[in-house]
C-alpha cells in the first residue's frame, strides 16, 4: 500500500468501496475510493450492475414494442424518455404529428420534468443530511403529478404514454383542470423549498464551492442538462434547437455562476418554475384536434439512420436509430445523459472530503437505470 509522507505525519491510504449497496449512490453505483483519512485521493466508478442490454433488446422488438422499454431507462422521467424515443422514430419515418399532440407532449414532458427535479431536489437534500423531510415534501408534490399521469395513462411510474404518431389518450377537460390546480398548488411550494433548503446556511456551507465544474470541462466531457447550465453555459435544446412547440412558448433558461453543487441544484429549482410557466402557456394555447395520426401498427422505415436528441430532466437524451427496411431497428443506440455526466465525477472529487463526494454525486442527479441501460 502506498503512503503519503507529509511533514512529520505519516498516514496510510486505504481503499473503501462505496456501493453498490450504499444509501446515497442513487442506485447500484459502486465507487472505489482511495482515502487518506477523510480526504479522497482517488475515485474509480464501476457501473453496469443494472445492465439489461436495452440496445440488444431493441434489435428484437418492433418500434412500437420498444416504447415500454424506454420507460425503464430513466424511470423517474419515463415520459421524457418516451418522448425522445418516439420523436427519433418519427424523424426516421418523416412523420408529422398533429398540433394538439405536440402541445400535449409538451405539457406532459414538462410535468414529468418537474417530477424528476423534485426527486433530484429531495434526494440532494437527503444526501446533505436533511434527513427525509425535504424528500417527503418533494414526494408529496410529486404525488400530485403522478396522480395526473395515472388518470391520463393508467400507470404511476412506467407510463408508456407516447405513441409513434401521437399520444395514447387525449387530455380531458377534467385533467386539464387538475393540471391548472397543480400549477397553483406548486408555486408556493417552491418558495417553501427556498426557505427550507436553498438558502439555509448549513446547506450553503455544504454545497457552495464544492465540485466546481468549469465551463470548458463541462463541454469537453459532454455534460448536459442542468449540470451544464449550472456551469454557466446557456445551452438548452428547448431554446437552441427547438422541437415540438417550444419555440412558440416563452421561458427563460436559468444558468449558474460558479458551476458548484449549489448552482446545479439552484438551476433545477429555477427550471421547475420555468416548467410551470411553460405548462401554463401550453394549456392556454392548446388547440383542438386529433391526438394521433393514422399510422399502421408496425412501422417500416427506409434504409436510413438518424440521430435525435431531446432535453431530458437529466440532460440530453439521444437516440441513434438505424433502420434496414424491416419493422425492427437494425441498431438502436441510446445516448443517456447520466452516462456522460457521471464520467466527469472522478475529476471533481479529488482532494475533497468523503462527505462531499455524496454532495457532488447528489448534485449531478445521476440515475443508474439510464447509465447501465
Amino acid at each position: 500500500m502506498d503512503a503519503t509522507q507529509t511533514k512529520d505525519m505519516y498516514t496510510e491510504e486505504f481503499l473503501i468501496n462505496m456501493g453498490p449497496q450504499h444509501p446515497s449512490t442513487h442506485g447500484v453505483l459502486s465507487l472505489e475510493l482511495k482515502l487518506d483519512g477523510e480526504t479522497i485521493r482517488g475515485c474509480t466508478p464501476h457501473i453496469g450492475y443494472l445492465h439489461r442490454s436495452m440496445e440488444k433488446i431493441a434489435e428484437n422488438r418492433t418500434f412500437t414494442q420498444f416504447i415500454p422499454f424506454t420507460d425503464r431507462l430513466d424511470y423517474v422521467a419515463s415520459m421524457n424518455n418516451n418522448l425522445g424515443y418516439v420523436m427519433a422514430v418519427e424523424k426516421l419515418l418523416n412523420l408529422e404529428i398533429s398540433e394538439r399532440a405536440k402541445y400535449i407532449r409538451v405539457i406532459i414532458a414538462e410535468l414529468n420534468r418537474i417530477a424528476s427535479h423534485l426527486i433530484a431536489t429531495g434526494t440532494f437534500a437527503q444526501d446533505l443530511g436533511a434527513f427525509a423531510t425535504p424528500l417527503f415534501y418533494c414526494f408529496r408534490e410529486r404525488e400530485k403529478i403522478v396522480e395526473i399521469f395515472d388518470q391520463i395513462c393508467g400507470n404511476r411510474l412506467t407510463y408508456n404514454y407516447m405513441r409513434i404518431g401521437g399520444v395514447m389518450a387525449d387530455l380531458s377537460g377534467e385533467i386539464i383542470e387538475k393540471i391548472k390546480e397543480f400549477i397553483e398548488y406548486m408555486r408556493p411550494k417552491i418558495d417553501d423549498y427556498d426557505e427550507l433548503i436553498t438558502y439555509n446556511v448549513i446547506f450553503l456551507a455544504r454545497s457552495k464551492h464544492i465540485g466546481v465544474l468549469s465551463k470548458e470541462m463541462a463541454i469537453n466531457y459532454s455534460v448536459t442538462g442542468p449540470n451544464l447550465r449550472g456551469s454557466g453555459v446557456k445551452w438548452d435544446l428547448r431554446k437552441d434547437e427547438p422541437y415540438l412547440v417550444y419555440d412558440k412558448l416563452e421561458f427563460d433558461v436559468p444558468v449558474g455562476e460558479n458551476g458548484d453543487a449549489w448552482d446545479r441544484y439552484k438551476v433545477r429549482i429555477e427550471e421547475m418554475r420555468q416548467s410551470l410557466r411553460i405548462i401554463e402557456q401550453a394549456i392556454e394555447s392548446l388547440p383542438q384536434g386529433d391526438v394521433t395520426v393514422k399510422v399502421g401498427r408496425v412501422h417500416k422505415p427506409s434504409v436510413s439512420e438518424t440521430y435525435f436528441r431531446t432535453e431530458n430532466p437529466r440532460g440530453e437524451l439521444g437516440f441513434y436509430i438505424v433502420g434496414d427496411g424491416s419493422v425492427y431497428p437494425y441498431r438502436l443506440k441510446i445516448r443517456s445523459p447520466s452516462f456522460s455526466n457521471l464520467a466527469v465525477l472522478p475529476e471533481l472529487v479529488k482532494d475533497i472530503k468523503v462527505a462531499d463526494i455524496v454532495c457532488v454525486l447528489g448534485s449531478f442527479d445521476v440515475l443508474m437505470g439510464e447509465i447501465d441501460r
Binding site: G48, K56, N60, E305, L342
Partner: protein, 153 residues
C-alpha cells in the same frame, strides 16, 4: 455567426482533408481510420469548433463495423457526424479521448459491446459488462446461452 448547414461543414472538412469522403445520400463524413486523429484535432478548434463529442456509436454491418462519432458545437449551434469503417480483421482505431474527454467512457462502451480496440485510450476496460465477460454482445453473430431472442412475428 450564421448556423452552418451539414453540407457546408463537410465541404470545409473535405477541402482541408482530401482523403475524407461523404456517404452517398447523407451528410455523414467517412474518415479513413488513419486520419481520425488529425481530422478530430482540426474540427475541435475554430472555425468549426465542434467542442462537444456527444455520442460514439458502433454499428455492426456484418462485413464491417462502423464507428459513428456525433459531434455538436455549443457555441456555433451546428453538428456533424463522422464515420470510421473498420474491417473485422483489423478493429483498431486511434482513440480521441485526448481531444474530447467525453470519449473516454463512450469509447469504453463501444469496446465493451463491439470489441473495437481504441489504441491510445488511457483505460480501456469493459464498462457495462463484467470485466471477465466473453464476447461482444452487440455483434450480430453474438450468442450466449442466457440470451434468447424474442421470436420474430
Amino acid at each position: 455567426m450564421k448556423k452552418m448547414r451539414p453540407d457546408e461543414i463537410s465541404a470545409i472538412i473535405k477541402s482541408k482533408f482530401p482523403q475524407v469522403t461523404e456517404e452517398a445520400g447523407t451528410n455523414y463524413i467517412i474518415v479513413p481510420k488513419e486520419s481520425i486523429l488529425e481530422v478530430s484535432q482540426y474540427i475541435k478548434n475554430p472555425p468549426l469548433a465542434l467542442d462537444n463529442l456527444h455520442c460514439i456509436t458502433g454499428i455492426d454491418r456484418k462485413e464491417k463495423i462502423e464507428v459513428v462519432y456525433t459531434l455538436y458545437s455549443i457555441g456555433e449551434h451546428h453538428g456533424v457526424t463522422l464515420k470510421v469503417n473498420l474491417t473485422l480483421e483489423d478493429l483498431n482505431v486511434a482513440s480521441v479521448s485526448a481531444i474530447w474527454k467525453s470519449a473516454n467512457w463512450l469509447e469504453r462502451e463501444v469496446y465493451d459491446l463491439f470489441g473495437v480496440i481504441f489504441s491510445g485510450h488511457p483505460d480501456l476496460r469493459r464498462i457495462l459488462n463484467p470485466y471477465d465477460w466473453q464476447g461482444y454482445p452487440l455483434r450480430k453473430n453474438y450468442s450466449n446461452p442466457d440470451f434468447i431472442a424474442k421470436p420474430r412475428m
